[in-house]
């Protein structure tokens, strides 16, 4: 009797273990989709889109997995080690390049999708950001943002300051506004070991013609231009709030009216424009009228920085999975689904396809309307953004190995928190980067 009971319990346990596998084998093509849109509201939109897609394609099942942007390198590493990578990923160009450098992106599938959607319809600048050294594309560019200094025009006028478009003007304004006793700070730029610091720093470096790679792919982080940039950046960082700062500080302090300048992407547009959409409780009234974006930075040359987020298909999938993935990517990049996706962060996510940018359905959005002409201007910046991984038309996917270790952020921290000189920090970073690329 006892034995019977234990057999029954053992049997039930076995069933419980096996049931999930049984469901998997039900004949549907299953694909996993990794997205960096982790916010709850955005996940809801994506899940809705996926549901509609599954209705249109009853033989395909899409599993959505949300991954924090800063966790992407670690999750990818874990996935690679376990042989459990997703079929399709939505992530920033650096991560795409990083996977591409490991030979893990399905370049053929990406090329086919781009051709089928119309290669000429894509912005050239967007395609360039995910280009392979051989001229193909690692992934399909989906949306992009532009970065710049968002500043308070009213306060700048009050003090009679010039817009923060040149190095000189930025430093002058930061110094003029900085008053830590009153809890007012000059500017927020990235000074922590994260992606944000690399993103804000890149624009200063590009404006000073400082590069990580030379044309032959050698690392030149200890160049005089880069040391000059580091030195300037450390000086500017004196006028930031205490401690290492990140995007959250930029956003919170600007919306609270405690900094007149901060660096951010176009994703801030809906936060700044929010009071116009009926929201009550903004700390600074009508912030959108008092805000301007300086997205071009001028020193030795002029520089724009931004990011392209792309949909990439991973190699090594079964034939039916590749086909299902292609269908899914095309669905996300077309018509209403694409527009719904972009409207998750209106103004923040800009389309990479010209036809969609002009589509009246895309333009019909409260926030995008608030910005009117400005929105189009901002989006146009996408066509000429510069990045460390691209030198004179050449792509160096090795940049992904450097960005995944947050070496630039750490270099900045060495100066701002440990008091290192720019020279010492640059030499340290040079060594770290050389080692990172070797691996």
């Amino acid at each position: 009797m006892k034995k019977k009971l234990s057999l029954i319990i053992a049997g039930m346990l076995l069933m419980a273990l096996l049931i999930p596998f049984g469901v998997l084998a039900a004949g549907k093509t299953e694909i996993e989709f990794w997205t960096t849109e982790t916010e709850e509201a955005r996940m809801a939109v994506i899940k809705e889109l996926v549901k509609d897609f599954e209705k249109l394609n009853p033989d395909i099942k899409v599993n959505v997995v949300a991954v924090q942007e800063n966790d992407v390198p670690t999750k990818l590493a874990a996935g690679m080690a376990a042989g459990m990578l997703p079929e399709v990923v939505e992530m920033g160009a650096e991560n795409i390049l990083r996977l591409g450098a490991e030979g893990m992106m399905d370049v053929k599938a990406a090329g086919q999708i781009i051709d089928e959607l119309g290669r000429d319809d894509f912005y050239k600048g967007a395609l360039k950001m995910v280009a392979t050294p051989e001229g193909g594309n690692y992934a399909v560019p989906m949306h992009g943002w532009v970065q710049g200094i968002w500043y308070r025009t009213d306060l700048f006028e009050e003090k009679g300051l010039e817009p923060p478009t040149t190095w000189e003007n930025i430093l002058k304004a930061a110094e003029a506004f900085h008053n830590p006793k009153e809890r007012l700070y000059g500017i927020v730029i990235g000074t922590d070991k994260d992606s944000y610091a690399r993103q804000t720093f890149t624009q200063y470096a590009l404006a000073n013609n400082a590069r990580i790679f030379d044309e032959n792919g050698n690392i030149i982080f200890n160049s005089p231009e880069m040391i000059e940039t580091l030195d300037y950046y450390a000086k500017l960082a004196q006028f930031t709030p205490p401690g290492p700062n990140t995007w959250r500080d930029a956003r919170d302090l600007y919306l609270a009216g405690l900094v007149p300048m901060m660096m951010y992407s176009t994703y801030i547009m809906d936060d700044i424009g929010i009071s116009r959409t009926g929201y009550k409780g903004a700390i600074v009234e009508n912030l959108v009228d008092k805000t301007a974006l300086a997205n071009v930075m001028i020193n030795k040359s002029s520089a724009t920085f931004g990011q392209i987020v792309a949909l990439g298909i991973l190699k090594g999938n079964k034939e039916n999975q590749v086909e299902a993935t292609k269908k899914f990517v095309k669905y996300l990049m077309s018509d209403a689904a694409y527009i719904d996706f972009l409207h998750m962060a209106p103004g923040g996510m800009n389309p990479t396809r010209r036809s969609i940018a002009k589509d009246p359905r895309y333009l019909d959005n409260e926030v995008i309307k608030v910005y009117g002409e400005k929105a189009a201007e901002i989006a146009a910046g996408l066509d000429n953004i510069g990045k460390f991984g691209y030198v004179k038309g050449k792509v160096f996917p090795e940049i992904g190995k450097i960005t995944s270790q947050f070496i630039i952020g750490e270099t900045i921290m060495k100066m701002t928190e440990h008091g290192w000189s720019a020279e010492k920090a640059a030499e340290w970073a040079q060594k770290q980067m050389e080692e990172a690329v070797k691996q």
Binding site: K3, S6, P73, T74, A77, A78, M80, A81, G83, E102, G103, M104, P180, K181, R183, D192, K193, P241, P242, G243, P244, D249, D252, L253, L258, G316, K401, S404, Q405, F406, M413, E417, H418, A436, Q439
Partner: protein, 285 residues
């Protein structure tokens, strides 16, 4: 019949054996195997055997020894801190007073609350601009000239992590010590009082010897736990590079699984050595 019973016995322990092999033995062996190879991220390219290369690299790496030092200081200070604080609070609460159960419950809170919510609470409390700590120190008491980032600035982060760990984990020591305290017979103290012992005498000659065993066990457990502590440190301030954080970055940000595995093996041997020494010499089991 006997043989049949023996068979059933094997069947019944089989799940446990499988679990131990699968969850403990296999990872250890896999980890050893990884540490001897240069691991390729791309599953299509095979791994290459490099023998003890990773071990040599780790042991000659100054960063490893820096992290080692950080970890030792962190472990020693938190073990001492949690044990002493737990002991003190347990002795204080080991007497009758009104609302004793409520106070004991409140003291357990940091230990039972999810670590992530505590971390966010602390981060907000010590926020460089909006935080209460800065408000009190700078604005109310005027002890400091300007706001400080208590948790994320590297020069304070290490202390923040230690204080946080002690605060979060002392309730466990408190609970264990209190349980032991309550089982010390009152007659021992009464006898001592008759002999004219003072409060300190009673503490050193009765309480401490009675607690000897439980404190010894607490120290060894807390040492093992905190030497490998990752979540509390990394969530509060990733700039504090204790060894587990160092391993994590080696393996997952630098994609160097082999080296990460080598470090964990070294740690494993180190902690094993410590435990054997401690059990033999200090606990005298």
């Amino acid at each position: 019949m006997k043989q049949k019973e023996a068979h059933l016995g094997y069947w019944l322990i089989l799940p446990t054996v499988l679990l131990i092999v699968g969850l403990i033995l296999y990872p250890i062996i896999y980890n050893l195997w990884l540490s001897l190879h240069k691991v390729n991220m791309n599953p299509a390219i095979p791994n290459t055997f490099i023998g003890l290369g990773h071990y040599w690299k780790v042991l000659t790496d100054i960063d490893f020894w820096m992290s080692f030092k950080t970890s030792i200081i962190f472990t020693v200070s938190t073990v001492v801190g949690t044990t002493l604080l737990g002991l003190g609070v347990a002795i204080l609460l080991n007497r009758e007073f009104k609302g004793r159960t409520i106070v004991r419950g409140i003291i357990l809170l940091p230990y039972v609350a999810p670590v992530i919510s505590l971390v966010f609470g602390w981060k907000y409390l010590f926020h460089p601009v909006f935080g209460l700590a800065n408000y009190v120190m700078v604005d109310v008491l005027k002890l400091l000239p300007h706001n400080i980032d208590w948790i994320e600035s590297p020069q304070y982060a290490f202390y923040a992590v230690i204080v946080f760990n002690i605060w979060r984990n002392f309730p466990f020591s408190f609970l264990m010590i209190l349980a032991r305290l309550q089982s010390i017979p009152a007659s021992l103290y009464e006898a001592a009082e008759i002999d004219g012992a003072t409060g300190w005498n009673k503490f050193f000659h009765i309480t401490l010897p009675e607690l000897n065993f439980v404190i010894g066990a607490l120290v060894i457990l807390r040492t093992i736990w905190n030497f490998y502590k990752f979540d509390e440190v990394y969530l509060l301030s990733p700039s504090v590079e204790t060894l587990p954080v160092y391993v994590y970055e080696k393996a997952f940000a630098n994609f160097n699984f082999g080296e990460g595995a080598a470090i964990t093996t070294i740690l494993f041997i180190f902690v094993l050595g410590f435990i054997l020494y401690y059990v033999k010499k200090v606990l005298k089991w």
